[in-house]
């Protein structure tokens, strides 16, 4: 299986590469459109600020490629947010894969949310074998509200989307690569999607 982690210069991608290694697979880092298109699985990471990450994605010409991919694609954290229509952070247009706008937490909670929270209303193959209310690790200031693409929810002053899915596109707000055994199960489920 050929796994590509899209390398467009946005943050910590070693952790994802290592997490996949611990599951017994190898992933390559790439920004080459041909190599990305040819992969069996694509991981779209993202850490940092939305408008600068989107800028880097555009600079590498990958903003038009990602929405056209046919194989399973997993966006993680900011990667998931950039797959949405729009994010308030830096007033940034997204890739428009998930039909939802990302907004900032504003419900009397501390921002950013940092730590372990629970996922529930799980409804997607990513969560096979994962128990309702299992714990996952999150660190973020902006969130995607609940929408028709929501496949996992979390409560932080408000119920919001911690995972989205549409066709071959998957997104997790949490970091599966940092979410202990639960995260490993979710990553393995993604790698097992046909």
């Amino acid at each position: 299986m050929k796994i590509v982690i899209i390398n467009y210069g946005a943050g910590n991608i070693q952790s994802i590469k290592f997490a996949i290694q611990r599951l017994g697979y190898e992933a390559v880092l790439s920004n080459d459109p041909e190599e990305i298109k040819a992969a069996d699985k694509v991981i779209f990471p993202g850490v940092g600020e939305a408008s600068s990450a989107m800028g880097k994605l555009k600079d590498s010409g990958l903003d038009t490629l990602v929405p056209k991919l046919k194989q399973p694609v997993l966006g993680i954290c900011l990667g998931m947010q950039l797959m949405c229509n729009y994010t308030e952070e830096g007033d940034t247009e997204g890739l428009g894969i998930f039909d939802v706008d990302v907004i900032r937490f504003n419900h009397g909670v501390k921002v950013p949310q940092i730590g372990w929270n629970q996922i529930e209303s799980l409804k997607c193959p990513l969560f096979d074998g994962v128990t309702e209310k299992d714990y996952i690790y999150l660190v973020h200031s902006y969130y995607a509200p609940v929408t028709k693409n929501t496949v996992a929810k979390t409560y932080y002053g408000v119920d919001y989307s911690t995972a989205l899915q549409k066709d071959n596109f998957y997104g997790t707000q949490f970091h599966p690569e940092k979410s202990s055994e639960v995260g490993e199960k979710i990553l393995l489920n993604f790698l097992s999607i046909k």
């Binding site: 943050g11 910590n12 070693q14 952790s15 290592f18 997490a19 290694q21 611990r22 850490v47 940092g48 600020e49 600068s52 900011l78 501390k110 921002v111 950013p112 949310q113 940092i114 730590g115 372990w116 929270n117 629970q118 714990y135 690790y137 660190v139 973020h140 200031s141 409560y155 932080y156 970091h175 690569e177 940092k178 979410s179 202990s180 055994e181 995260g183 490993e184």
Partner: protein, 251 residues
């Protein structure tokens, strides 16, 4: 529900783990990567590595250690100690650190916080503050608590938040190493006056100190070293006790 975090802190010198008692005596408590793995399996929510070495090689040694930890550990970890530039942070994040913590360098050059938050995002920037009470006023201290400044803890904490820090790691020099409990009054004031998470540090001696810092201190996370390194407290027992006190934890 967002849970309260338990964070073992590993002091690192030349690639090995050490823990200072009142920041003076150092005792060896093992290999950092092995210890990190043990802690993640024992239920730690996060780890902090604090590099206290002062050699020419330190940058390279630390980057290499970060890479080895990232390879092995499936929970988040923060790296701090001697970080003073955007380049320092870039190297650590590239090698797999999830967050970095800056301390003295932020006091000397507060603009560094803005620069780091703009480049890497607030979520990976922790500002560590060491403070001690002098004539009943909390004063920020530098260089591992050795050098006093004129900065007031609460003023500095607010400035740090405004400049874009994602969380604050507050160590009370008055409590650190005493095993007498955390600085809960100052912690709860920080928690109320600021809108970013606060990590309590300094003073952990027994399980009830953690209960107190989450309830009275309103801390979002609690950090400790020797009580974990010398197995005086097992993380699983600690979390069970927290849960029994209706404090949300990941069990």
């Amino acid at each position: 529900m967002l849970t309260k975090r338990i964070i073992p802190c590993l002091d690192i010198k030349n690639g090995r783990t050490v823990k200072g008692v009142n920041f003076v005596d150092l005792r060896d408590a093992g290999d950092p990567v092995e210890l990190a793995d043990i802690y993640s399996k024992a239920g730690a929510d996060e780890l902090v590595f604090l590099d206290i070495s002062a050699t020419e090689e330190r940058r390279k040694t630390l980057a290499n250690l970060v890479l080895r930890v990232a390879e092995k550990v499936n929970i988040p970890f923060t790296v701090g100690g001697g970080i003073s530039s955007v380049e320092d942070v870039d190297i650590l994040l590239q090698n797999g650190a999830d967050k970095v913590s800056v301390n003295s360098s932020a006091v000397k050059n507060p603009q560094l916080i803005n620069d780091l938050a703009a480049k890497f995002g607030s979520q990976c920037i922790t500002v560590a503050i060491d403070a001690k009470q002098i004539d009943e006023e909390w004063k920020v201290h530098l260089v591992g608590g050795k050098v006093p400044t004129e900065l007031n803890l609460f003023d500095w904490a607010k400035e740090v938040e405004q400049r874009g820090a994602g969380e604050i790691l507050f160590t009370s020099m008055d409590h650190d190493g005493t095993k007498d409990g955390f600085a809960n009054k100052a912690l709860s004031r920080l928690s109320r006056e600021l809108n970013i998470p606060i990590i309590a540090s300094g003073g952990a001696g027994n399980v009830s100190h953690f209960v107190d810092t989450f309830i009275e201190g309103e801390a979002d996370a609690a950090l400790a070293a020797s009580v974990f390194h010398f197995k005086e407290i097992e993380i699983k027992d600690l979390k069970q006790e927290l849960q029994d006190n209706n404090i949300p934890v990941r069990l």
